[in-house]
Amino acid sequence: MQANVNRKGEIPLPRINVIEKFCKSCGLCIEVCPKKIISIGDTANDKGYFTAVCINQDECIGCGLCATICPDVAIEVYK
């Protein structure tokens, strides 16, 4: 996945990457995200879990709260 680029073309901006094979759709990341930009996506992984997705990468501030609370260590954070 490519680095997030803002509208002016400057890089990098904070972003997350959800590792689909680990995500169990538990929703804890959604609870803690201060920008409310994570939600359950509409793609299921091999185990049948609809994995979490960041629905608005531009708003990500790279706080890492989602990754901190993820019980499956499924979220990577980049800044």
């Binding site: 538990c26 019980p71 980049y78």
Partner: protein, 251 residues
């Protein structure tokens, strides 16, 4: 230049955790794995897994592991540490393991000041076996063996194990933490890492109890479980660093 600021620790294998969605075991194991990696002790660490959901941890860490009988992890850990005093030994036990059948060993491992680290995952219930009452179950809490709610008159009150252990001289560092929120998770990480540093410095027995959830057996969603923990467990189980000797302070 983009940097990865949050990455899966080398202390964890690449295997997907088999726990239920939202189970806090995964958070706690991440904290332990990161502590081992940051202290550069993965290769000299031997973990002891119990009976219970926690027992699966042996598959998820990248260090050596020994599986113990129910309640006996600390005795097994004592045997390993006495045989290989230069290695790091830790036990990872649920409350149903250490605070019930394993309490004899919990007390005496601490009393003897065995130089190992024990982590208790407290979700106030017997998770693996389908949600029976545990000695840590709260009054009024409904479980499969307290279907009408735990009745103090019949079955007593919950056991606050870290408080008991803190009373023993051999226990030099005892902390009670929670993983219900990112803020508390970061506090928990500090305590867990310190508990390993205590062992590395050869100071005595270190014990960290972690308030945890069991969404499946509590019948709540993962997010609701975290709130339930805050509302019901925190008032009962004292949080904080319950015991820190002078030597540990100077670490």
């Amino acid at each position: 230049m983009e940097k990865q600021i949050f990455k899966r620790s080398k202390g964890l294998t690449d295997v997907s955790f088999s726990f239920c969605p939202g189970c806090t075991h995964g958070i706690i194991m991440r904290l332990i794995a990161e502590s081992l990696e940051e202290l550069d002790i993965i290769e000299e660490t031997i973990g002891v897994s119990p009976v219970g959901c926690a027992g699966f941890c042996q598959n998820f860490f990248t260090c050596d592991f020994v599986g113990a009988a129910h309640g006996r992890a600390q005795a097994v850990g004592t045997g390993i540490k006495r045989s290989l005093p230069d290695k790091m030994v830790f036990t990872y036990q649920g409350d149903g393991d250490i605070a019930s059948i394993g309490t004899q060993h919990a007390i005496h491992t601490a009393a003897r000041g065995e130089n190992i680290t024990s982590i208790m995952v407290n979700n106030a219930i017997y998770g693996m076996t389908g949600g029976q009452m545990a000695p840590t179950t709260l009054e009024g809490m409904k479980t499969s063996t307290s279907p009408f709610g735990r009745d103090k008159a019949l079955t007593g009150s919950p056991v606050d194990l870290p408080k008991l252990i803190a009373n023993l001289e051999g226990a030099v560092y005892v902390a009670s933490v929670s993983v219900d929120s990112p803020k508390n998770i970061n506090i928990a990480k500090k305590a867990i890492k310190k508990a390993f540093m205590v062992q590395k410095a050869g100071l005595g027995f270190a014990f960290v109890s972690v308030l945890s959830t069991c969404p499946t057996n509590w019948g709540l969603s993962p997010a609701q479980s975290m709130q339930w923990l805050r509302d019901n467990m925190m008032p009962i189980y004292e949080l904080g660093e319950l015991k820190v000797t002078e030597e540990v302070k100077s670490l």
